[in-house]
């Protein structure tokens, strides 16, 4: 199936390279490919450097007088603080294995989006300032001067990397351009060169507890709205609690799922599941954000925002923490949280109150992923499931970058999907699991002014979805990430119209028979179920 809209962007993707050496190609900031600069107030709220009114599309970025010193001192400091950074600056052999692994390169054809060149943007300065060869031989050794032109190039391309780590999987030395991007963004942050789409949510999260800036009463009313929907659908009234001391479990999930379709359906799924289990849990309005946009700007800011989760768990006296579906949230929870804000010795090793399973793999952080929790329930047959209630969908599954390459949560969501729906089709092998393609909007780049960049970045993912759509009529893209739910919806509308995005917990809730529910005729989003209620739909033959 072709659609004229998507030909617009795909037709100008060419992997041909300029004649000139990359160092001689000046950066051309193309509208639609970058974000607005951070507002003064967002930076002031969290005490970030160089707050001022500025615009990323103008030439004068109002840098501090001694900006070069700030950058170079910042680099020197980080070379000592991060062995990863230090080694990655030294050992790349430019073998090119990573070159065609980045979705931004595949979607733009811009050579500076090859992970190796993205890293060279910074490495060239490292060589000039920190290595003997670079000081002596300059350009011959791949070194160049740090000037404003270079700084613009950094800003443009390090906010054109979603820190997805796909390049790192293929690199023979594990060089992780995501790690280099993280350091580069820290350096840019020292000059106040943030983007508002990150800085705004960071300020919100710092003051109000979540990226969207939902105040406590808005959180409760948003959840209430969802429980009303559930009641309409199932006849069951759910009354969740907030900031309740003495609950067994604290539940933390990205705030995005409270707010916009289709994330809200996933959120309804959580509410229904916990109600059905009779789980002794609470929401928190203070720690009302699972995601962490702070981690997209600096390690320190990531830690400042993340601290709320343990602090709240301690204040409420819960035993352990359950985390919802989100990508980067889980990179942070898996690889950073305990180191930053642990030890969580005031919590207990998580045990499922339903199955008695001890979550050994989370024995130190005390935080369990909802897919782990649910997979365990299904393994022990603790839910009544009618997979036929998802028969009106043909489902494929998108691994989010962070849960695959920063955690390895590959099987649990698949196990759930296979239990709760009958029509599941995998995308081609080089585009899933650890080789999954990014949605193109991760790491705080899901703004609207950079739409062309997002669509291009989402092209490789969309391409693989299109493949299963053509082959199996797939019409639902399942995922376990709040950003995916928002971002991939846009990407699908553009590249593969007709495919919608669904959270795994929404699929589960569709199929879950609740005690005392009425005769459900539609799924969570109001789509009519195939056939009548119950298992009848199973009788229907599939038309392929």
């Amino acid at each position: 199936m072709s659609n004229s809209k998507s030909e617009e962007l795909s037709s100008d993707i060419k992997y041909t390279l300029p004649e000139e050496d990359w160092m001689d190609v000046p950066v051309r900031m193309k509208k639609g490919m970058y974000c607005h600069g951070a507002n003064e107030n967002s930076l002031i709220t969290v005490g970030f450097p160089n707050p001022r009114q500025w615009s990323s599309s103008e030439t004068n970025w109002k840098l501090p007088e001694n900006w070069q010193d700030i950058v170079l001192t910042g680099m020197a400091e980080r070379l000592e603080k991060y062995r990863s950074f230090h080694i990655f600056m030294d050992i790349c052999v430019r073998c090119g294995a990573c070159a065609d692994k980045c979705h931004f390169f595949l979607g733009t054809g811009d050579p500076k989006n090859m992970p190796v060149l993205r890293a060279e943007l910074l490495r060239s300065i490292y060589r000039r300032e920190f290595t003997t060869a670079g000081k002596l031989f300059g350009k011959f050794a791949g070194a160049r001067e740090l000037n404003e032109e270079v700084l613009r190039e950094w800003w443009y391309y390090f906010f054109q990397c979603t820190e997805c780590r796909r390049c790192s999987v293929f690199c023979p030395y594990g060089i992780d351009t995501a790690e280099i991007t993280m350091i580069a963004r820290e350096l840019l942050n020292l000059l106040g060169l943030n983007i508002e789409w990150i800085a705004g949510p960071v300020a919100n999260c710092y003051m109000k507890g979540n990226h969207l800036g939902l105040e406590p009463h808005t959180i409760t009313s948003s959840v209430e709205f969802l429980t009303d929907e559930i009641e309409e659908l199932t006849g069951i009234k759910i009354e969740p609690t907030f900031n309740r001391k003495g609950a067994e479990i604290l539940f933390v999930t990205p705030s995005g799922d409270l707010f916009a379709d289709p994330g809200t359906y996933t959120c309804m799924g959580y509410l229904m599941l916990f109600h059905e289990l009779g789980l002794d849990y609470t929401w928190s309005t203070y720690a009302s954000e699972g995601g962490n946009f702070g981690s997209f700007t600096s390690n320190e800011m990531g830690k400042r925002l993340n601290s709320k989760i343990y602090a709240e768990a301690k204040r409420l006296g819960v035993k352990w923490i359950l985390g919802g579906e989100c990508g980067h949230m889980w990179r942070v929870l898996n690889q950073y949280m305990d180191t930053w804000n642990g030890p969580a010795d005031f919590l207990e090793v998580p045990v499922s109150p339903i199955t008695g399973t001890v979550f050994e793999n989370a024995s130190s952080t005390k935080m369990v992923h909802i897919s782990e929790f649910t997979a365990d329930l299904l393994k022990h047959d603790r839910l009544e499931i009618a997979p036929s209630r998802n028969d009106h969908y043909k489902v494929t599954y998108h691994d989010s970058c962070n849960t695959s390459r920063g955690m390895g949560l590959l099987e649990e969501p698949r196990y759930i999907i296979k239990k709760v729906c009958n029509n599941f089709f995998e995308m081609p092998e080089h585009t899933i699991r650890e080789k999954t393609f990014c949605c193109g909007s991760g790491s705080g780049l899901n703004a609207s002014e950079n739409m062309e960049m997002r669509l291009r970045g989402g092209f490789p993912r969309a391409n693989a979805v299109k493949y299963v759509k053509n082959k199996y009529d797939v019409d639902m893209l399942a995922c376990i990430c709040a950003i995916d739910r928002a971002a991939l919806t846009t990407i699908m509308d553009y590249w593969v119209p007709g495919v919608r995005v669904i959270g795994v917990t929404e699929l589960l809730a569709n199929a879950m028979k609740m005690k005392g529910e009425n005769n459900r005729q539609t799924d969570l989003r109001g789509d009519p179920l195939l056939g009548a209620e119950g298992g009848d739909a199973e009788e229907e033959s599939e038309d392929v």
Binding site: S6, E7, I13, L17, G47, E80, R83, S84, H86, I87, D90, I91, C92, V93, R94, C95, G96, A97, L106, L117, E120, A133, F140, A141, R165, S168, F170, P172, Y173, G174, D176, E179, E215, P216, T220, S221, F242, T285, Y286, R304, S307, N334, T339, N361, A362, S364, T365, E372, A375, R405, M407, G408, L410, E411, E412, P428, H430, T431, E434, P460
Partner: protein, 331 residues
């Protein structure tokens, strides 16, 4: 230019040896002093560099996970691509270092422009050539040890006889030498002809490859064509090794060129990307287990940060919280 300069560089190295040995007769310099200096630079440079890396902290546990994590006993986990303890890390690293496992899974993507379709296929050329290059390089270097020690240990005889299995006349033809030459040439050609790789290559990517090709060529010339007398070479090399170097015979220009090229490579090594040989062992995305939810990783420079406390939050929103029926600490 990116290719020409390093090419001229290697020619230059050869010329220096030629002028130094043939015209100026500085055999002592090229046969003894420079090799020693190069070797010392190599050793000291590598050690200092590794120490420098070692001084950098490893604040977070950041393995790149390329397979299923360890969660429940009934979920099959991937011990090698997502190691959960140090033993499994050793397995992952061993496969990485000895068999280039990450490169083995390499893919190549192409765009069918007319249909706007991306195709991803497996691609093993770089892996094959890289593996052939590094292994034969290692064996050739190892074989050379017989020049430095007397008597020759039996393990060297073994390698020697395996390597020389395809005996095609005298002297025995070592197949490793040929594979080394072939794979190094392939790696060079790929750098020049694959557009993406050419684009990212720097002069100092071409230089070591050309240098190594020159070393192999001079070595092959010496062994099979100009037939430098191995007995005389051994006089010098054993002397070098036992710190009693003497130059007894006229060893011929080609030998000095070979030796000087090797010296340049050794001295160049610690200041270049060739340090990847040591760096790969220290790479945090590969050499750490993915166990950070089970075992707390300590950041040596972790420091307290300014946070927005619950108390401050409640002060900001107390009335709204009370109205919404959310419990508060202070009424």
């Amino acid at each position: 230019m990116k290719i020409l300069l390093p090419f001229l560089g290697v020619i230059g190295v050869v010329m220096v040896a030629f002028v130094g040995v043939e015209l100026l007769n500085l055999r002592y310099l090229f046969g003894i002093i420079i090799p020693y200096a190069a070797f010392i630079t190599f050793m000291a440079g590598v050690i200092l560099h590794v120490l420098k890396w070692g001084r950098s902290a490893v604040p977070f546990c950041i393995p790149t996970t390329s397979g299923q994590q360890k969660s429940f006993p009934w979920v099959k986990r991937d011990r090698l691509d997502n190691p959960s303890d140090n033993l499994e890390v050793i397995g992952r690293m061993a496969l990485e270092v000895f068999l280039f496992r990450s490169l083995f899974s390499n893919t190549s993507s192409s765009l069918k422009e007319d249909e706007g379709r991306l195709i991803h296929g497996s691609s093993k050329w770089l892996w094959g050539a890289g593996l052939a290059f590094h292994w034969t390089f290692f064996i050739v270097v190892f074989r050379h040890l017989r020049l430095f020690v007397d008597p020759i240990p039996s393990v060297l005889y073994l390698v020697d006889s395996l390597d020389g299995l395809m005996q095609l006349g005298v002297p025995v033809l070592y197949w490793t030498g040929l594979i080394l030459l072939g794979s190094a040439t392939y790696l060079f050609i790929r750098r020049v002809f694959i557009p993406q790789v050419r684009y990212i290559s720097l002069p100092n990517d071409h230089f070591p490859l050309l240098l190594i090709i020159a070393i192999v060529l001079s070595g092959l010339l010496m062994r099979y064509f100009l037939k430098v007398d191995i007995i005389y070479v051994k006089d010098l090399t054993v002397g070098l090794f036992s710190l009693k170097p003497v130059i007894t015979h006229n060893l011929g220009l080609i030998f000095y060129i070979h030796l000087f090229l090797v010296s340049v490579l050794l001295a160049y090594f610690p200041f270049s990307k060739l340090m990847h040989a040591a760096g790969v062992l220290l790479s945090p995305t590969r050499n750490m287990p993915n166990n950070s939810r089970r075992v707390r990783h300590i950041n040596p420079w972790n420091y307290p940060v300014k946070v927005h406390t619950y108390e401050e939050y409640e002060d900001d929103f107390r009335d709204k919280m009370k109205k919404a029926g959310i419990p508060v600490e202070k009424e």
